[in-house]
């Protein structure tokens, strides 16, 4: 410290007092820096920063819009999907009903057909039986008469007598057959 004081008093200038050349050079150097930064460089970067802010804000807005749009579309799709499901369920139900109806219809139709067929068969059988009965009656009559005339030797040409005899014989036959059948049981 004494060294410093000694140096200060021994001719060296007071360090707090500036030299004029340094003041001037310092001022000029600073002003050149200030001028270049203030007029040339910082306006550019500040413009860029402003643009960046705008773009980011714009980007955020666009993203928000897109999100809203997506949500809207999703909602729409969900609604459509629900509608489609509903429709499908309805169609299935309808098809089921229709199927049941068709089956029922076919069943009744088939039943009616079967009944008709059975009735027709019955009627035919009856008719054939009647026919057979009639032809049998005539044939049996003729046969019996023939046999009887051969056995008895008596001509049974007379119509009336012939039919009377045939009837009586048949009655007998029936009675006997009926008794026989009952006895055999």
């Amino acid at each position: 410290m004494t060294n410093l004081l000694a140096a200060a008093s021994s001719g060296s200038q007071d360090p707090l007092i500036p030299t004029i050349t340094e003041l001037i050079i310092g001022s000029i150097a600073f002003l050149v820096v200030f001028g270049t930064l203030g007029k040339l460089l910082l306006p550019r970067i500040q413009k860029t920063l402003q643009e960046r802010t705008d773009q980011i804000e714009g980007g955020l807005d666009r993203a928000e819009e897109a999100q809203a749009e997506a949500a809207r579309v999703l909602e729409q799709y969900r609604r459509q999907l629900a509608e489609a499901r509903h429709e499908a369920a309805r169609l299935r139900e309808e098809a089921k009903e229709q199927g049941a109806q068709i089956i029922a219809e076919m069943r009744t139709e088939a039943q009616a057909e079967a009944r008709r067929l059975a009735e027709a068969a019955n009627a035919q059988i009856e008719a054939e039986r009647q026919q057979a009965l009639i032809s049998l009656q005539a044939e049996v009559g003729a046969l019996a008469t023939d046999l009887a005339s051969r056995i008895v030797g008596e001509s049974l040409q007379d119509e009336a007598r012939q039919s009377r005899v045939v009837d009586r014989f048949l009655e007998d036959l029936e009675q006997r057959g009926g008794i026989g059948a009952r006895a055999s049981r």
Binding site: L4, A7, L23, I25, G26, S27, L41, R44, I45
Partner: protein, 270 residues
Amino acid sequence: MIGDVQVAAAGSGGCHIFSGCGFPAPSLDSFDFTPIFSIGSFHFTKPMLIAVLCAAIVIVFFGFAFRKPKIVPRGVQNLGEVALFAVRDQILRPSLGKRGDHFLPFLMSLFFFIWFMNLMEIIPFFQFPAMSRSGFPWSLVAMVYLTYLYLGFKNQGFVGYFKNMIPRDVPTWVLGLLVPIEFLRYFFIQPFTLGVRLFANMFAGHLLLLIFTLSTWYLASLSIGLVYAATSAVMVLAVTVLEALIQLLQAFIFTTLTAVYIADSLEAGH
């Protein structure tokens, strides 16, 4: 420091401890340089070279960073933007708010010019904080001083600026004391402390580094002195780290106070 050490060593004739010569302590002469060249009575010295160089470095750096700025920053632009945001958000906005954004060029120029000038203390080959030559801090203080006085008179009116210096609701008898104090504060104390703080910090820092580097040189002899020299060398490293911090801090303080003074001028404080 190497250059200075060698100069000092040469000056003291390679003087070491136990060789019968005293410690060549640094003095004000350590802050005086022989001119690099002279034009008439104008002497261009090392501190001036550093000042010109620092201005160039600031311009070149921000030139590269902001010459063709991109929306999506690349390379140096990233670094430049970090620098810009640091000054804007840590220095400008706290005292001036968003409305003070047009002072950003002024504050950025101040901060980086001062910081680089200070940094030169620990940059090899330069190793001298230009701000320890008082002409440089005073030239900056002059600009800050004129700026905040101009803004004060412009925004508050000539009479209003003086009036607003005095806090309201003060008992009349205090005014006798307060008026001169506040007047002194705005017109003399603020600029004086602003300049001296920066100058003295850099001056003292350089002196401190000089003392330990010169000691290292002085103590280095083939004796127990080597141990002292090693200790001194460790101190050089420690002080260098400390100085690196102080250089940034002083640039920050100078710029922050400038922002505060400007804010004071834009509207009545208190």
